[in-house]
């Protein structure tokens, strides 16, 4: 028996130049894993390669012992859900219609939603604190509210694994904490496995059990935040001088930026 979700020697990207090079990574059930790395390091591409959005050039992805290419797409979507950075929706769907779309993987082609589907959608709305928005139109919400609704849609899929690609990068700190607290709660109470791309190293440090640091399409190092977020690691990968301190409340590493450091290095 291997890991719950394992990425085996995946390479691929857009066109001829692979963005991700021979990456292997396993996720255990109930883990909260953070993917970090500079822009263009292949974090988002890696997630796309293992969720059918992009077809890998090499390698395979295994979910619960099965190659995902041999699984029907809807069966895959009943286990794995995805929240992207920013979902702009051009049409005026109601919030409840959006969340109900999370039930699509559980429905046949012409099957109508049953009471059970409505109940699951409603509890996803409750869980994300968006029940009061259910009759609003999605394009009338703020960015923070909209992201909560998108997460509710993903939860309505009833996944056992949730991928998130920088879900908080457009949000203020209040909404960032709100969403990550919610994810932590789902992770701990429902044993939901989470793999999240985060740009904010301190958020990654606070919430993730394990961090995977990527650079130029390969994994540089991985492990507990204390092991990954060291100043030599960050300085080599991001080419920026930092001071790694400790968060006084949680005791987790806290990365402090040093202004002007890029200029010093150029001298």
């Amino acid at each position: 028996m291997g890991a719950f979700f394992s990425i085996e020697n995946i390479s691929g990207g857009y066109g001829d130049v692979p963005v991700v090079n021979d990456v292997s990574l396993s996720l255990e059930k109930g883990e909260f894993v953070g993917l970090i790395g500079p822009n263009g390091s292949g974090k988002s591409t890696l997630l796309r390669l293992v969720t059918h959005v992009l077809v890998p050039d090499k390698g395979r992805t295994v979910l619960a012992g099965r190659d995902i290419r041999t699984m029907p797409r809807k069966e895959f979507a009943r286990q794995v859900a995805f929240v992207s950075q920013d979902t702009t929706i051009n049409f005026s769907y109601k919030v409840r219609e959006i969340v109900l779309m999370g039930r699509i993987p559980h429905l046949g082609q012409l099957e109508l939603e049953t009471k059970k589907d409505f109940a699951i959608a409603e509890s996803a709305l409750k869980l994300t604190g968006t029940l009061h928005l259910k009759d609003k139109e999605i394009d009338s919400l703020s960015a923070g509210e909209r992201q909560c609704v998108i997460i509710a849609k993903a939860l309505a899929q009833e996944p056992s694994l949730l991928f998130l690609d920088e879900p908080t990068s457009h949000l203020d700190i209040g909404h960032q904490i709100k969403i990550l607290d919610l994810l932590k709660k789902l992770n701990q109470e429902n044993n939901l496995t989470i793999a999240i791309v985060l740009h904010d190293l301190n958020l990654a440090s606070e919430y993730c059990d394990r961090l995977v640091l990527l650079d130029k399409g390969t994994i540089v190092t991985q492990g507990a935040p204390e092991a990954v977020l060291t100043y030599p690691n960050i300085e080599t990968v991001y080419n920026t001088v930092v001071v790694v301190d400790k968060n006084r409340v949680s005791g987790k590493p806290n990365v402090v930026l040093v202004a002007g450091s890029q200029l010093c290095r150029q001298k």
Binding site: T51, S84, S92, I104
Partner: protein, 320 residues
Amino acid sequence: MKISVKKKIIFLIVIFIAAIFFGISKGSADIPFIKLLGDENRAILMLRLLRVVMAVLVGSGLAVSGIVLQSTLRNPLADPYLLGTSSGAGLGAACAAIFGIGQDLFPVAAFLGAVASIILVYLVARQGGKIPAHSLILSGVIVSIALSGIMVFLISISPDEALHGLMWWIWGSLEVFDLRLILAVSIIVGLGIFVVYIFSQDLNAMSIGEEEAIHLGIHTETVKKLLLVVTALITASLVCIAGIIGFVGLVVPHMMRFIVGPNHKALIPASCLGAAAFMMFSDTIGHAAFSPLEIPIGVVTAIVGAPVFIVLLKVKQKII
């Protein structure tokens, strides 16, 4: 204030039935409705019934094609003629006219022209087995312009009578000229709309984003290709019996999104009803307004449709 979607659909059905009666009772000749049922007016009644059938076919077919293109390409300005069908059909018919092929084969030539233009648009748009939305839109525009250019060139160098037979294509018509043709087209349109309706759930997911749909377990490339072929066949067959009738396929889906919302399970039937009624009213206005002069239906749909759409747009903005 809240009205359920079911009630709104029933309301549209009522309008649809009203439009049928309106379409049958009004025409170039002013005959009371009761008299139409009599034996002496049977021919007129048949003719008007056929126009009703044409209106239903053309309206619902164009509206559903517009929905598919707007949702799969996530572009609110997409209309059924985006894939080059109109200019392809025009060019096919122009070629048939110029090479002296009989009038009754015009629709076949137009259909072939439309299908050829769609294939051309696909080939230009394709990038490594995928059809990205932006490249499909661009290639549709380019192919349309090129084919219209060739068509105008052919018409301008040909003798007048050939040109005259083609004029109706530009503004469309619901004139019935071949029953077998209508039957064939109604089978294509009927089956096409049915296939699109089967994929209404997939269209919902795809209209919020292609990657979103993939994450909901939908084979987006396959569904997109299938539905684009279906809409292309619907528009091609409609162009060859009714010419180019603008505005319906672009605007009726938007009107219906205002009324029943963007969910395709309601939007598709609502748009069929709404577009059919809209076509019947436009056709009847075109016939009766300046009788005995006839105004092409495409002119009416543009003149009536634009203000209606602007009013809806303004009202909608006030609500938000």
